[in-house]
Amino acid sequence: MTVVDPPSIATVSVIDAGHADRDVVDALLRGDEQQFRALVGRHHRAMVHVAQRYVPSHAVAEEVAQDAWVAVVTSLPRFEGRSSLKTWIFTILVNQARSRGVREHRSVPFSSLGDDGPDEAAVSPDRFNGPDHRWAEHWAQPPRRIDDLPEERLDNDQTRRAVEDAIAALPVNQQRVVWLRDVEGWSAEEVCAALELTEANQRVLLHRARAKVRAALEVALEASLG
């Protein structure tokens, strides 16, 4: 069984991505609206997520994302391809979000990570044997195996809904990280840069977020299995 995620495609095909970016930018400079729609579609939601790290509300984050698109469009002739188009767009976004945050008197530092509450266990302690048990701290109520289930029992409307709702219910810092990592498929490095997180912070937020999403998924799996 392969347990480590494969390297992301982004790191494997950096050179191809550079060519693809150039093609996209050239098309945009020619006024290709389909390309522009596609680009906005690809990044807009992630931009709102990232902007919210720096500003006080979703509404302001949405404004910042739209302002960033205006800056992207007007700066496009100066895109040189020294970074990927995505990195370039998100650098513009973060700069705008940060200055907007300052204007809105938001202090951005890591203290905001404290919003996510105290240390939480990935799995409720009562699912493990107590300290007096011969198998202390081993599973008392283990998770169900899933490798014997057909794909349609694993991936269906109920399980997807459970995952979506669990992500929506996460504390904001955890939600942002898991959204960018697992929904958008960003690398840890990209997330740390855009959200100004240390690697350690990013990992803790991701660990807690994924643990909660798994817990919700487990409930949905159990329910569907009866």
Partner: protein, 73 residues
Amino acid sequence: MACQEVVELLNDYREDVLDAHRRARLDAHLAECPYCVSYLEQLLLATRLSSRLQVHDVPELVMASLLEVFRAR
């Protein structure tokens, strides 16, 4: 290593940031604990389902105003 500790380390395991010693202990645990393997499989499934949530719909009003900017550039 006990399961309760393992579940707290599995994300670092996936992210490949554990030191060699801990990684080896975790590998050894997983080799003989089907329950923790199931837990890991559920974690991976959660991520797989998350990646399928990706939606590229932007509110039409937002898209319309951005297109105006694009046309006027």
